[in-house]
């Protein structure tokens, strides 16, 4: 300190003309650039061969919410998918290749999704993205994935965005689309509770809008007594639930994620209000919702109506196989709808990879998915094809009875304009859940 300054903690005024900072800025920037170069290691990606495919492995990647507000509701999915792949690899993999599943956490934040997906494509050199989770998150990387010609399979969301083969030829959805689910729930409500006022509570994005669209399509514009929305950034739904209660709703269709299903049911119970709850598949898994509510509130879920398109009955052969895989390869983690979902995604990808031939390329993988020959393991038909990039356009109703969530038989298909009642078409389990390789 050369300055005899009375207040040594303050920056002494400088003469701007001799300010040394611009040069320091130069040095710093150059230094930062050099550090960046040193970190770089390898420079340019190799162009030869199919990315992510070696003689004995296929590397695929995903973005999932392992931390953050959505983690408790959906975090277990990727662990289940990994467990299925581990099981598959132990049985010899597909065409002799084992599947490496790289799971990156994006905390359900689109900004992080953009970073981790670039890491998966640019660094990990994945063959394909599989089951990237979430509408806001995945929408933010759609263009990037398209430009890089990365197959983008079985997105974990029911938004209609993924089903746009003209604009996004590489992208395919996995969930039954929200409109289908909303319509199916509304029809079942109309059939079983003909006198009840139908209301909707939805998330304030594609999810809630899609559910409302489906409900309105069936019940008519005047058939929805009240529609309320919530935002994930506000963990208080008292006002919305209060408004629905006041509207005299007998059936409330929920387009809510698991956490907000729990919050809504809990809030309504506090208001001593017990309408019939009809929940979309993404927020209607009994065990996951109970995880939020606490086991002591299990009674609140009695009678909960939901829809699903994957095996769910406790005595289903797929469910039993998945329970076994969960015990052996997933450390016996709690077995929920998320477990079945994650393993079903794994099975469908394995099936696609098997159909993509002995030397799979990105083109042959996409061709296999569009071939119309994949079956998946759903209880309704898999509708993937060249003109349809949505996996399921039908859903079957489940109800919680005596603490068990199971199908009740009502199944509906949606063709984009009308809802028709149909039969469920379960896929028989073959070859211990390992897709056959032609």
């Amino acid at each position: 300190m050369h300055h005899p300054s009375p207040a040594p903690l303050r920056t002494p005024p400088r003469d701007p003309r001799s300010d040394p900072r611009p040069r320091r800025a130069l040095t710093a920037t150059v230094a930062a650039a050099v550090v960046g170069l040193m970190l770089a290691g390898c420079s340019t990606p190799s162009a030869a061969g199919t990315p992510g495919v070696t003689a004995d492995t296929v590397t695929i990647g995903t973005h999932q919410p392992l931390t953050g507000p959505a983690a408790a509701g959906y975090g277990p999915i990727s662990a289940a998918t990994s467990a299925y792949f581990e099981y598959l690899n132990e049985k010899g993999g597909i065409h002799g290749r084992s599947i490496e599943y790289v799971v990156k956490d994006d905390g359900y934040n689109p900004a992080d999704t953009q970073t981790v997906v670039r890491e998966l494509v640019g660094e990990e050199k994945v063959f394909a993205l599989v089951n990237g989770l979430g509408t806001p998150t995945h929408s933010s990387v759609l263009d990037y994935v398209g430009q890089n010609d990365v197959p983008d399979l079985f997105v974990a969301s029911g938004s209609a965005t993924w089903n746009d083969p003209g604009k996004y030829p590489n992208t395919f959805g996995f969930n039954a689309d929200y409109v289908t689910e909303g319509a199916a729930l509304a029809r079942y409500a109309a059939d079983t509770e003909p006198d009840a006022e139908i209301c909707v509570l939805g998330q304030d994005d594609d999810y809630g809008a899609g559910i409302l669209e489906g409900v309105t399509a069936v019940a008519g514009d005047d058939g929805v007594a009240a529609a309320e929305y919530y935002s994930t950034s506000n963990e208080d739904v008292t006002a919305q639930v209060g408004a629905l209660k006041k509207a005299g709703c007998g059936v409330v269709v929920l387009g809510t994620i698991n956490a907000f299903t729990a919050l809504t049911l809990g809030t309504a119970a506090q208001l001593e209000w017990f309408p019939k709850w009809y929940v979309s598949s993404a927020g209607g898994d009994q065990e996951t919702v109970l995880g939020y509510l606490g086991e002591e509130n299990a009674a609140l879920l009695e009678g909960l109506t939901s829809v699903n398109y994957l095996p769910q009955s406790p005595d289903d052969e797929w469910v039993r196989l998945f329970e076994q895989i969960n015990e052996e390869y997933n450390d016996g983690a709690p077995f929920t709808g998320n477990t079945v979902y994650g393993m079903s995604v794994g099975y469908l990808f394995a099936e696609a990879l098997a159909a993509a031939g002995e030397n799979p390329t990105r083109e042959s993988l996409l061709a296999a998915v569009e071939s119309g020959e994949l079956t998946g393991n759903g209880v309704v038909p898999l509708s993937l094809g060249p003109d349809d990039h949505g996996a399921y356009h039908a859903a079957s109703v489940t109800v919680v009875r005596d603490g068990v969530q199971d199908y009740v038989g009502a199944t509906y298909a949606w063709d984009g304009a009308t809802l028709t009642e149909t039969e469920s078409t379960p896929v028989p389990l073959e070859n211990e859940g390992i897709p056959s390789t032609p």
């Binding site: 953050g68 008292t238 001593e272 606490g294």
Partner: protein, 292 residues
């Protein structure tokens, strides 16, 4: 009308927690001239401790005591540790060190306990009692309101009527003079921190059963709103924090009920901006020292 009554009552319960947390910020600001950005993170550490104690012993009240004591201890540690080393003539370094503490504590909690929400049951029923057919407040809301009132009355008594309170106030307002008069200013600052974080931990404990559950970020929004409340009230003024807290609680409840949930933070921002434009140092600010 029913809706209005219901929303105002719900807002009052939430507002009392906000006010309590805002008062904890006022206490530490008065004691140390620091805005403790780490207040939420420190409070949540206390709530985790209380939660663990309740889970281990089955007693809610032991959990409350554990949370409050952990909070007080954290306050002492923070003040005796990093914050004592911060230069006092400028509020900036203190705020930045507190921001650093937020990161350390939240990351530490997430590493130790995981990031998932843990359900926290309320000690009293959360079903509202009806008043003339209108659901108003639940027993838990009444418990929250009563606790907040008792704590605030206790604080007012301590600061206003006891010798300790007098020394605390003297040390905050005129540290040099107080030191000459024999007040142990350093110790008073430490006590201020301990009381402040203990109150914040209690507010956090009251809040958590009404939200999705306990997570390292459980009190983030509470902190931001309480900070806005403290600023609206004047940062220096406990009555200001109380009034502003109840006001903001009712405002957010009404906006959520009559407009939409998403608009509530915008309403708080609007109120804050409006108050600061009219009174740049808050509603109940002490007169500013000479500026020009």
């Amino acid at each position: 009308m029913d809706t209005l009554v219901f929303l105002v009552a719900a807002g009052l319960a939430r507002g009392s927690v906000l006010a309590l947390f805002a008062i904890s910020l006022v206490i530490v600001w008065r004691a140390a001239r620091v805005v403790n950005f780490a207040q939420a993170a420190m409070a949540v550490v206390g709530v985790y401790a209380g939660f663990a104690l309740t889970a281990a012993t089955g007693s809610y009240w032991l959990g409350v005591a554990g949370a409050v004591l952990t909070g007080a201890l954290l306050g002492v540690l923070a003040e005796r540790g990093p914050l004592r080393l911060v230069p006092r003539d400028n509020p900036l370094p203190g705020m930045i060190v507190a921001i650093g503490l937020v990161m350390v504590l939240q990351a530490g909690l997430a590493i130790a306990f995981g990031a998932a929400h843990r359900p926290v049951p309320a000690p009293f029923p959360q079903r509202p009692l009806s008043l003339g057919g209108v659901p108003v407040l639940s027993p838990y809301d009444l418990f929250t309101l009563a606790t907040a009132a008792v704590v605030m009355a206790g604080l007012a008594w301590m600061f206003g009527r006891t010798s300790l309170g007098l020394q605390l106030r003297a040390a905050a307002f005129a540290p040099e003079t107080s030191r000459l008069l024999g007040v142990r200013v350093g110790r008073m600052v430490t006590i201020g921190w301990a009381v402040s974080v203990a109150v914040a931990a209690l507010a956090g404990l009251l809040l958590v059963p009404t939200e999705l559950g306990l997570s390292p970020h459980a009190a983030d929004i509470l902190f931001v709103q309480a900070f806005a409340v403290a600023v609206i009230g004047g940062l220096d003024s406990p009555p200001g924090a109380l009034l502003a807290g109840l006001g903001v609680g009712i405002l957010t409840s009404l906006v959520t009920g009559y407009v939409t949930a998403a608009a509530a933070p915008l309403a708080v921002l609007g109120l804050l901006t409006a108050v600061l434009l009219v009174r740049p140092a808050g509603l109940f600010a002490a007169r500013e020292a000479r500026t020009a």
